[in-house]
Amino acid sequence: MLRTPSQTIGPFFHEALRWAGGERVRFAEPGEAITLTGRLLDGAGETLADSLIETWQLSPSGKIPAAGSGETHPHGLGRVETDKNGVYRIETLMPGSSGSGPPFIDVMVFARGLLKPLRTRVYLADEARVRADPLLKPLAGSPRIGTLIAKRDGSVFHWDIRLQGVGETVFFAT
């Protein structure tokens, strides 16, 4: 069957898609508390104050997170709006890895002017480890790989997302 096409989220989604605690990702197991934060920027270098970021990741032990049926919120899923300065911030736990790969968080960006979401991922590991990920082979030797790596400052990982222009983040076509 022909799939239903994607349309923009528009500027009016906030109240409908706001989840209490959406910025604090839940898991059934303990782990290393981390913060992922950064700015969302357009092709003119302006910040986007009207966007939604969703994150999805493995649990600290590397499992696909699943809330129990009696719980009130999904696990492993983060959903945050960018604020008036175009900043997003999520509190989560360091994801585990399936196998030896570097830890990462899947990210989707939704916004007015994006007729379909942009998919990417942020790695929470140093560049040598990230470059070894076979998935990123097409980026071998490219400085663009750096757009997928967060900068660590204690428990805080800083990662800006640039939709267009100099330093454009690598987005995925899947």
Partner: protein, 230 residues
């Protein structure tokens, strides 16, 4: 022929000249092609406790009834193989009958309705069915170009049962003359795909003597992953 194995093919491009807000937000670099199987994994799982009873009726959140034409919108969420997408999250939001959103950035000078906030959510049942009671949204002007009006629409957000199924779309109404003039609707290049976004009048799906019925089925990408928790 449409390649159904690449779910992106029915979607609009990122850069659409007639839709101004895309110009500085569309990536210019080539997107990295990854195998679709990467996102064909189970999850996220949304527990039933996430939904409150009143979340499926948008007309009972004020002191009285909202203004406008009462309607039911109902349908099924299916995957590309026609299988129901079970117990997955459906979220909707919309303007009121006058074409005004209950939202601080909406500056359209049409009246707010204190009895209508225009948002709902529910989980599909085991057949992939959902159903909301609401009022028909009004069209409204926007700043994209002179005399620009968005056709009446309801926003839908679907989580699906695998990340590859995640979809945000808009549902439009049949016979709306604004559709052919709308850069957002027209951003979908394929006509058959565009028609997927138009609901069908279905009186029997409504409430006798009370609300008009509209049927709107949504087709998500196919997923082989076994859903979590169900």
């Amino acid at each position: 022929m449409t390649d159904l194995s690449r779910p992106i093919s029915v979607d609009p491009p990122y850069d659409v000249p007639d839709y101004k807000s895309t110009h500085l937000r569309a990536p210019k670099e080539k997107l990295l092609e990854l195998p679709p199987s990467l996102y064909d994994t189970p999850g996220p799982y949304v527990p039933a406790g996430f939904i409150r009873d009143k979340d499926t009726d948008l007309t009972i959140h004020g002191k009285g009834a909202p203004l406008g034409e009462r309607m039911v919108v109902t349908g099924r969420i299916l995957d590309a193989d026609g299988k129901p997408v079970r117990r997955s999250l459906v979220e909707i939001w919309q303007a009121n009958a006058s074409g005004r959103y209950h939202h601080p950035v909406d500056t359209h000078d049409a009246p707010l309705d204190p009895n209508f906030h225009g948002m709902g959510r529910m989980l599909t049942d085991d057949e992939g069915r959902y159903r909301f009671i609401t009022v028909k949204p009004g069209a409204y002007p926007w700043l994209n170009h002179p005399f620009a009006w968005r056709p009446a629409h309801i926003h839908f957000s679907l989580l699906g049962n695998a990340p590859i199924q995640r979809l945000v779309t808009q549902m439009y109404f049949p016979g709306d003359p604004l559709l052919a003039l709308d850069p957002v609707y027209m951003s979908v290049p394929d006509e058959e795909a565009r028609k997927r976004m138009i609901c069908a009048l279905d009186l029997q799906a409504g409430i006798e003597g009370d609300a008009l019925g509209y049927r709107y089925d949504i087709v998500l990408a196919g997923a082989k992953a076994t859903p979590l928790g169900i």
